[in-house]
């Protein structure tokens, strides 16, 4: 079976959707030469009318996509830096997201916002290392964070086909992941459906994005002591509550590991959404970035601010101890 990288899975998803649907087009900064190496080869295949390099005018090109979507196209925007989403927060949240309701259903805004390399890319420091997915879950824009190449493919395809705006975060920590994949078996992955990567009996670990791989590693590591179930929500909003409730109902214990800030992050939401519904045998735990985190430049500090395997292991051991 060929080995597919996460990055190439994204490329493939874009190419497949552009082939399938002539209304799909791309825009962003330096996407023609594929500076991020996600759109490699697409200019040649689909031409400059469907691969648009933009000036550095994020607000305008984000709303340009909204307007283009209103009139029937399906734009995909690549953002070079996660914090560019801060710059276009208004355009996504106040416009793209709100148009359908505000117009009483007269329109749809099927735009995909793709952020290849979200989170820390070691050494990019404070303004380039954010992982703002919880913000989009809060405002209610469909938010996906694929962990594996196959999911990167399948979720990006579904995002492009979705009639609502969708933000796709491709964590830097997952971009280099490769997997043996039967290319013919690549399929759309439904939005809002989680995935149990590893079955277990004692504790459910909800892991987001690249942290799925850390969670799996920790689970293996302590397999002789604890039976860990690793649940990957894949879509943070809408969340697969049924899937998660089923898992924690069996295990009775919950740990969330999430690379966004602690307060009001998806970690908080997962805990709240579970304890409202399921009685746990031990208090749940989360492993997150600290409150208000800004990633310092020095590599050791940068790492210290991100959730790590040691913390996850400790959290798992603690919930086992607590009940």
């Amino acid at each position: 079976m060929p080995r597919l990288s996460y990055r190439r899975a994204l490329t493939r998803a874009l190419a497949d959707e552009m082939t399938r649907d002539p209304d799909v087009f791309l825009l962003g900064e330096d996407i023609r030469v594929a500076a991020s190496n996600v759109t490699a080869g697409l200019l040649k295949r689909f031409g400059p009318d469907r691969v648009l390099d933009t000036p550095l005018s994020e607000q305008a090109f984000t709303s340009f996509a909204t307007g283009a979507a209103l009139l029937g196209t399906r734009p995909v925007i690549e953002f070079q830096i996660p914090s560019l989403l801060f710059l276009v927060f208004e355009q996504i949240v106040n416009h793209a997201h709100k148009f359908p309701l505000m117009t009483g259903g007269q329109c749809a805004v099927p735009v995909t916002y793709l952020v290849p390399g979200s989170g820390s890319r070691t050494g990019w420091a404070g303004q380039h290392s954010d992982h703002p997915y919880s913000l989009f879950a809060h405002v209610g824009v469909t938010t996906v964070v694929p962990a594996t190449p196959a999911d990167a493919y399948g979720l990006l395809v579904s995002a492009v086909r979705c009639d609502d705006p969708v933000v796709v975060f491709a964590p830097a920590g997952a971009m280099e992941v490769r997997a043996d994949v039967d290319l013919a078996a690549l399929v759309p992955v439904p939005l809002g459906r989680g995935r149990v990567h590893r079955a277990g009996d004692d504790v459910t670990v909800v892991a987001v994005g690249h942290l799925v791989h850390d969670a799996l590693a920790v689970a293996e590591d302590i397999a002789d002591q604890v039976s860990v179930e690793v649940f990957d929500p894949r879509t943070l909003y809408p969340f697969d509550w049924d899937g998660l409730w089923e898992s924690v109902s069996r295990t009775g214990r919950l740990v969330v590991v999430d690379d966004s800030n602690r307060a009001c992050g998806i970690g908080a939401e997962v805990i709240a959404g579970v304890v409202e519904r399921v009685r746990l045998v031990a208090p749940p735990r989360r492993v997150t970035r600290p409150d208000g985190a800004v990633l310092p430049f020095a590599p050791a500090l940068d790492r210290a601010v991100q959730p790590g395997r040691e913390q996850l292991r400790a959290a798992i051991q603690n919930v086992m101890k607590d009940g």
């Binding site: 709303s63 340009f64 355009q91 359908p100």
Partner: protein, 322 residues
Amino acid sequence: MTDPEEVRLYRTVRLIRRFEERAIGLVRSGHIVGGIHPYLGQEGIAAGVCAALRADDVVAGTHRGHGHVLAKGADPARMLAELCGRENGLNRGRGGSMHAADFGVGVLGANAIVGASGAIMTGAVWAARRRGGDVVGVSFFGDGAVNEGMLLEAFNLAALWRVPVLFVCENNGYATTMPVDGAVAGTITGRAEAFGMPASVVDGQDPEAVRAVTAAAVARMRAGGGPELIEARTYRFDAHHTFEHAVRLDYRPPDEVARGRSRDPVEIAGARLSDADRAAVDAEVETTLDAAVEFALAGPEPDPADALAYLYASGLTARGGG
């Protein structure tokens, strides 16, 4: 007999004027909740611009948006029902004054965020053109909007990609209480020209002048030209927002207001009609608006159970808050 084009222009300005006056009445009577930004005094702009457009052209407006929606051809009855928050409104009561839209007649919506429509319209026209045809679009905005970076970015994008968008700046001298001279360094037309766009100033109180300058710009755009800007000089006859009547802000000298009101687009357009034609239009407008008020007030209020209807075009159902 009066030139039918002049009759049409007058009908539009008169319709907007009387629509606004009735709407203000409905704000006072509590039928329109939250208030409106009346277009009084600026009617000549929407009327003149839209008279030069085709049905398949598209427009996007502002918080002071009733004129644009009506001039482009939306049904005044459904528009008024929208302002009253009724299920039979243009947006089924979900949008109200600042978001009224009618995609069926090319109105992509009023917009409550100053400066936001320029880029949206640029994308919309670009997408329409991709499918062939020679549609053009109009983005309306006020003098305050030219200080919003997102609009200036849109000027650049439209100019670079030669997207045929007509940027219509309704310069009524104020952004709420901020005089244009205190807010705009340089000139409005100079800003557009800096992006390589043709720009001109027109008397916004004269709908025929607005129509003529728009028609010329639209002709150039349909023939393959890029975006242009028109600065229409006008004056807001009434408060920034109906709420202002309550708080009594003091920022426009009375003599300025008197001077501004002395050039009334309804009078200017009306003077071009015979008395009989004018009376006929006036009567027709009243009949239309009588029916509109009736239609609006008879419209059903939306069911609170449907408060989140249309939130997601994909059919996603949001988790409730209770």
